[in-house]
């Protein structure tokens, strides 16, 4: 393993985030705070408890997951797309680094950033609502697995994208709707039976559900199913990246 290269790529990306710390951290914290104010305080006060948890507390895991998914995807997609756009990718491709090392550097940095943002939002949430974390280690495990998995997805999008518009397309048109419809703001038990069944095809449901179980021990699906699905998404993303580097798709002519 070329650990020097992994460290170089990782630190390069982390330094980029530190340079733009305002937009990296303030923006997601501000938007999440607005969610807490609107859904937690204003609307949430008129909604009954769900599984014995107040509505304000109920949406905490979902809101963290919403930011974790979008931040992971956009950080990783931009991290690999920008060198492609600027042409500096030549240096990474001509260096003695393997695909695994490239992915560890770029995806590791993107996941780190999004996990840190997730933790900051968690801290921010304590300012608005009272909540307990029943299984902190499971919570951290889901945070790390989800951050890494969706950073892998972001990396794929960054390789696929041919322009900044495409870079925004998947997060806006796919991930945000799936997150909203994945039980971020409600339990799927609150849905009519048909839509409940449809929701089971939404992969984000399993992430939000598992994450919420780590907080309140209540979930839409079993924790083991959530964990298996998360690992399954990760394996699928890794397989796609393996294929990208094996064939050189969009990377090497």
């Amino acid at each position: 393993m070329n650990w020097h290269a992994v460290k170089a790529i990782y630190m390069f990306e982390i330094n980029r985030a530190i340079r733009t710390i305002g937009q990296s951290i303030i923006s997601p914290v501000l938007s999440t705070s607005l969610y807490f104010i609107v859904f937690g305080a204003a609307i949430g006060s008129r909604i009954n408890e769900i599984d014995g948890v107040s509505y304000g507390a109920f949406i905490v895991p979902g809101l963290i997951m919403l930011q974790l998914l979008t931040q992971s995807i956009s950080n990783a997609a931009f991290g690999i797309y920008f060198p492609r756009f600027a042409g500096t990718i030549y240096e990474v491709l001509s260096a003695p680094v393997s695909a695994v090392e490239i992915v560890l550097g770029f995806v590791g940095a993107a996941a780190t950033k999004s996990i840190v943002i997730g933790l900051i939002i968690l801290a921010t949430a304590t300012l608005f609502v009272d909540f307990q974390i029943a299984h902190p280690l499971w919570m951290l495990l889901f945070l790390v697995l989800t951050g890494f998995t969706f950073s892998l997805l972001g990396f794929i999008i960054g390789i696929w994208a041919d322009g900044f518009e495409q870079l925004q397309l998947v997060p806006l048109l796919v991930v945000t709707p799936l997150t909203f419809l994945g039980g971020t703001f409600y339990s799927i038990d609150m849905l009519p039976e048909f839509w409940r069944d449809v929701s089971l095809f939404n992969p984000v449901l399993y992430l939000v559900s598992g994450f919420r179980w780590a907080f309140y021990e209540s979930s839409d699906v079993s924790i083991l199913v959530s964990l298996s699905m998360t690992l399954g998404f990760m394996a699928a993303a890794m397989a796609v990246i393996w294929w990208i580097f094996k064939t050189g798709w969009r990377v090497k002519p």
Binding site: H4, A5, A8, A86, Y90, E91, V92, A95, P253
Partner: protein, 332 residues
């Protein structure tokens, strides 16, 4: 431009290796029967064979689209090899890519830099990327040798084009490579900067680094290279020592400035393939410098016999450019 050095001023060598007294015969790059076909079927390289020896400066000449950058891309791992093998210092670039690439530094044609990074950070990043541990002393030496030291804390976007080009060279040298590829190092730069680049390459020669540069500026190859390869339409037409190439393919022209206009070339000079200028005041004779007899003495004698008087004689050696154009035209 600040920081630019006059060509006559010598800098410290860029790296610490001692200069090899003579170019070693040991190959540092071996390209064997290499072909490259891009998706869509375009065949950019056709059965290229090339051996580059340690310490030499090799210029790959060719018009735009000839395959120069494709060949570099294949060696450096930027494109996939379709056929053939490439070894760098004995290491296969596909199977043993780590060892092969660790020996190579690449300076791309385009000025591709991370605009918001500092010079120091971007050069240090390159060293780490190539698997070398942090060594501020090496980075300092490289930056000083390229007169970038006083710019080390500057962001790249604040630098001039010439300085950015130097930064790209510094990045390529940060891991102390044995082979440096310069892809069109002076494409689109002004004359002063071009001479600067030549000077930088001259310094690299002192360190023993093998330099492979692509260019379509003949003057560049003529100024710097030990050997020249000519590539056209994906085929390596010729590889030759520069001096040998000039000697073999070089023609000289002898122009005789006449005293009075000549009506026609005298019949007894028909075998000399002389050209009479439009103003009829000069005769041009092309001859091969390597021929046993150039024919100059007999031409002069016959002119004297015909009573043709002249006031001046000028000789001109064909440039590498003329040789190159001739080769490419022949290929067409």
């Amino acid at each position: 431009m600040s920081g630019l050095r006059k060509p006559s001023t010598r800098r410290k060598p860029i790296m610490s290796q001692t200069r090899q007294s003579e170019t070693s015969a040991e190959p540092i790059l071996a390209v064997r029967d290499v072909s490259k076909t891009y998706e869509g079927g375009f065949r950019a390289l056709k059965h290229v064979d090339l051996t580059i020896r340690k310490g030499e400066i090799f210029a790959l000449l060719g018009p735009n689209g000839a395959g120069k950058t494709t060949l570099i891309s294949l060696v450096c791992g930027l494109a996939k090899l379709s056929e053939g093998t490439i070894h760098v210092d004995g290491h296969d670039v596909t199977r043993d890519f780590r060892k092969a690439r660790a020996k190579i530094g690449l300076v791309p044609q385009e000025l591709t830099t991370d605009a918001f990074e500092t010079v120091w950070n971007t050069v240090s990043f390159s060293r780490g990327l190539f698997g070398r541990p942090k060594d501020p002393a090496v980075i300092e030496r490289v930056l000083k040798s390229l007169t970038l030291w006083d710019k080390k804390d500057n962001k790249l976007r604040t630098l001039s084009g010439g300085m950015k080009r130097r930064v790209l060279i510094a990045k390529a040298l940060a891991h102390e490579p044995e082979v440096l590829f310069l892809d069109e190092p002076t494409a689109g730069v002004d004359v002063a900067l071009r001479r600067e680049m030549w000077s930088v390459v001259g310094d690299l020669r002192e360190t023993g680094v093998t330099v492979i540069l692509t260019t379509h500026y003949i003057e560049e190859a003529e100024m710097m290279a030990d050997r020249i390869g000519v590539i056209s339409k994906g085929e390596l037409i010729l590889v030759e020592k520069k001096d040998e190439l000039m000697r073999k393919l070089g023609h000289k022209e002898l122009t005789i400035k006449l005293d009075k206009p000549l009506d026609a070339i005298p019949a007894n000079l028909a075998d000399y393939r002389l050209d009479l200028s439009e103003d009829r005041l000069s005769l041009t004779y092309s001859y091969d410098t390597t021929a046993e007899r150039t024919g100059i003495a007999s031409l002069m004698r016959l002119l004297a016999e015909d009573g043709v008087r002249f006031r001046d004689i000028v000789t001109k050696q064909s440039s590498l450019e003329e040789i190159f154009v001739g080769l490419v035209e022949d290929k067409k």
